[in-house]
């Protein structure tokens, strides 16, 4: 992180598993030091994209660049990444300390330096008193923190998070969400976060990429994406949207079967027949 935040780019990558096209020509640029979210339903390719960036999956075509350097065909262990799995994937035969220390030991960091760096990270995630425990003896939230510490201790260029909050109960999920956001801001590390939860995406992200059927459907600031879905598909994906068809009036209201919906639509659409996506947050109904 001394080098400053790093950009991640994917250019036209394709990946298929048997018959299924998991990624179809996906191109994206992730903001350096930003919190980038890949949002979409299960099976949309978001996890495959994340695993391609990590190197667990090799795309058939396209390029992946981390910090401007092409890594497409480099194996994961040579890439500067930190990865947090949905299942946490803590090694059950190692203590909390050893889980975090493992990557450092591989890099021949030993003795006091090792101790110092592991403890510093455990402090950051608020677990300094539990370092001798076995992962199995920790709660879900604590395991999550260990997984984060393990991913961050090597000071990677990119932090990759694969639905890290999915296995937590509702209360913890909100708490960990804030914790992850705080850490990311503090460390200014380029982060890519995979989720199917809109609320998480909205609260955490600097940028959201909505994915569907192996493609990127829309990219933008979360407020923009939620306020102005670029297509009916995105609107439907963003949940709870219902569609009404009607004609736009001079005032920018929508006339549906004689009923008037005050939606503040653009007057330039006046007289046109349109389909409007209604979500719970932004709807008002007025009597005709």
């Amino acid at each position: 992180m001394s080098r400053g935040p790093v950009a991640v780019q994917v250019e036209g990558i394709c990946k298929r598993f048997g018959r299924e096209q998991a990624l179809a020509d996906v191109s994206l640029t992730f903001t350096p030091g930003g919190f980038n979210t890949l949002l979409g339903p299960s099976g949309c390719g978001k996890t495959t994209l994340l695993r391609s960036i990590a190197g667990f999956v090799t795309p058939e075509s396209g390029r992946i660049l981390i910090g401007g350097e092409e890594v497409t065909r480099q194996p994961p262990w040579t890439r500067s990444i930190g990865f947090v799995f949905q299942s946490y994937a803590l090694w059950p035969h190692m203590s909390v300390f050893d889980n975090v220390a493992y990557g450092l030991r591989l890099r021949k960091v030993e003795g006091r330096e090792l101790e110092r760096r592991v403890r510093a990270l455990l402090e950051v995630v608020g677990l300094s008193s539990l370092h001798e425990r076995a992962p199995g003896a920790l709660s879900g939230g604590q395991q999550q923190r260990v997984a984060l510490a393990r991913a961050l201790v090597l000071e990677p260029s990119v932090l990759l998070l694969d639905e890290p909050l999915a296995n937590l109960d509702a209360r913890l999920r909100v708490e960990m969400r804030q914790e992850i956001r705080r850490l990311q801001r503090e460390l200014k590390i380029t982060t890519i976060f995979v989720t199917h939860d809109q609320e998480e995406a909205l609260e955490l992200s600097d940028t959201v990429a909505v994915m569907s059927r192996g493609r990127v459907a829309q990219v933008g600031a979360p407020e923009d994406v939620f306020a102005h879905p670029a297509s009916p598909e995105v609107a439907a994906l963003l949940g709870g949207a219902s569609f009404v068809e009607g004609v736009v009036s001079e005032e920018g209201d929508l006339i549906v079967d004689g009923a008037r919906l005050a939606l503040g639509l653009s007057p330039t659409l006046a007289g046109k027949k349109v389909r409007v996506a209604l979500t719970a947050k932004r709807m008002a109904v007025v009597a005709d």
Binding site: G55, F56, P76, W77, S87, A89, Y102, G103, L106, R107
Partner: protein
């Protein structure tokens, strides 16, 4: 990517290729030699199907074939009828001594098959310990030697395995399913019959398959207790090894027929099971109910009787090892002479058995683990399925046939291995590689792939990740798998008998010779048999205690 690049990025490809070559050389090539020899006419040059034809027409061959099939079917049916109902009661009802019952059943599965034959002859052979008494009370008892003896011994050798599989099948049913049947008006027994039995069928059929193929391939039992009854493995042995040098083409044709028979049974089993694999939706395990008092007593008595019959051979042998033997007549007083002789003068077979089993187990477990890794964690389009098929071929090859193949291939320079310890180790290795692979696969499936990927993500190379994470986590499974492999090789007889030499006489050979009335060292054979039982049961008991869930029966 060039091949070089692929290999550098994925060294497992190299491992997979190497294992493939080894398996082809050791498993496929010998079988191909057998195929070739079975098709050669007596002149050694022209091709013919005459050998196969004679198998189906000449009485000597056809009888063996029919006997083998008949024996296998009768033994399997009887073993299922005896053990499955008992297992059902223990799975579904609260009965005393559940842990003991399961432990005994597990121990029974490891019983060396030829020990049973040996012991039952000692008891009920023409000159057996009990035969005069039977005749004395007026029973028309002649001897246990014959078809009925092979069935009797084979059945009691198989019931342990059937019991474990059936118990597993009945115990893993979701209780809601039967209660649902009761809720729509099925009586208790109706529900058992209509719901529990069909759902347990896959497990029961698997047990039946294992017994059937086991009996088909068994050499020791029919050879020792069959008397004049000829079966395929015994016939092969005589055809191939008899001094007169009977046509080797016939032995080869018989070998192929044996393998074909095993393959047919496997395909049949697959076919029958295909429509029957049910996914149980519930996770509620069966809760055990209580039987009425009289029924509890009856089942408990039946269970006790069952295990007495299973373990009679062991008790008889242990007892006879403390008797004074004069030639083949045992008598009093009780003595430790047999053990003294074993320890002081004849411990070599014990050491040979241990050394051979240890070496072959080590190699089988290493190879099996690598094979399992390629099968579970790599998905090479051609290589992975081919390796899996190759690994399973030895399942289908009876020990006698395997030995014939090895002799044919390794009987010439520069690879003359016949008569050496190496050919025995090779045979054991090939026979047990499928078991070692299956056991390692089961352990690997328990370790989530993410655990390994997590290591890669913090900079571990695949080799480091394997060493530091995966290997550590599958180690307990490997140890228990290795123990079982070791025990099975320790009791191997069929291929040993064809491949051993004077310097490589094993425990099983010593016992076999005594059982056949050869050599006359009966007291020594009894103490050797006890040494073998201790070598098998003590480790097995420890493994079962330490890893209660390990698939001991497989």
């Amino acid at each position: 990517m060039t091949v070089g690049q692929r290999l550098r990025r994925d060294p497992w490809l190299l491992v997979a290729l190497f294992l493939g070559v080894v398996l082809v050389l050791l498993v496929v090539v010998p079988q191909l030699w057998i195929v070739r020899s079975s098709l050669l006419a007596r002149d050694g040059a022209s091709l013919t199907l005459e050998n196969f034809f004679r198998y189906l027409t000449a009485a000597r061959y056809r009888t063996a074939l029919v006997n083998s099939v008949l024996l296998a079917i009768v033994t399997t049916i009887l073993a299922m009828l005896v053990a499955a109902p008992l297992a059902f009661f223990h799975a579904r009802y609260r009965l005393p001594g559940r842990d003991l019952v399961l432990t005994l059943a597990t121990l029974a599965t490891a019983s060396p098959p030829f020990l049973g034959a040996y012991a039952w002859i000692m008891l009920l052979g023409y000159n057996g310990l009990l035969s005069p008494a039977l005749r004395g009370v007026g029973l028309p008892w002649h001897s246990i030697v014959g078809f009925h003896g092979v069935v009797w011994v084979g059945m009691w050798g198989a019931v342990g395995l059937v019991f474990l599989f059936a118990h597993d099948a009945f115990a893993s049913l979701d209780q809601d399913l039967e209660e649902a049947a009761e809720s729509v008006g099925a009586r208790r027994w109706r529900a058992h019959l209509d719901i529990a039995l069909p759902l347990a069928m896959p497990g029961l059929l698997t047990a039946a398959y294992l017994v059937l193929t086991g009996v088909l391939a068994d050499f020791g039992t029919p050879r020792i207790i069959g008397g004049p009854v000829s079966v395929l493995p015994v016939l092969l042995y005589h055809e191939f090894l008899s001094e007169g040098g009977v046509n080797p083409g016939m032995a080869s044709a018989g070998s192929l027929i044996s393998v074909g028979l095993a393959t047919a049974v496997l395909l049949l089993q697959r076919l029958v099971l295909a429509g029957r694999s049910y996914v149980m939706s519930g996770t509620r395990r069966v809760a055990q109910r209580t039987l009425p008092r009289w029924a509890t007593m009856t089942v408990t008595l039946a269970t006790a009787f069952f295990f007495v019959l299973v373990f009679v051979p062991h008790l008889v042998i242990a007892f006879s090892s403390f008797l004074s033997w004069r030639a083949d007549i045992p008598g009093l007083p009780f003595t430790l002479d047999n053990y003294r002789m074993l320890a002081l003068r004849s411990s070599k077979p014990v050491l040979v058995s241990y050394a051979l089993s240890a070496i072959s187990t080590l190699v089988a477990v290493v190879a099996g683990t690598l094979l399992a890794y390629v099968a579970v964690r790599r998905s090479y389009r051609v290589l992975s399925p081919s390796l899996q098929a190759l690994t399973m071929i030895p399942y289908l090859i009876p020990g006698t046939v395997l030995a014939i193949g090895l002799i044919v291939v390794f009987n010439r320079e520069p690879m003359r291995l016949t008569g050496t310890w190496m050919i025995l180790a090779l045979a054991y290795f090939i026979r047990k590689v499928p078991y070692a692979t299956k056991s390692a696969e089961a352990s690997l499936y328990q370790v989530h792939e993410n655990l390994e990927e997590a290591a890669l993500s913090v900079g571990a190379t695949p080799a480091q990740a394997l060493r530091d994470v995966t290997a550590r986590l599958i180690l307990p499974g490997l140890v228990s798998g290795a123990t079982l492999t070791f025990l099975m090789t320790l009791t191997e007889l069929s291929s040993t008998l064809m491949l051993y030499g004077a310097a490589t006489t094993t425990m099983s050979i010593v016992i076999y010779q005594a059982a056949m009335g050869m050599g006359g060292q009966f007291g020594l054979a009894a103490s050797t048999a006890v040494a073998m039982m201790v070598s098998v049961y003590v480790p097995l008991y420890l493994v079962r205690k330490r890893f209660p869930s390990s698939g001991v029966a497989a």
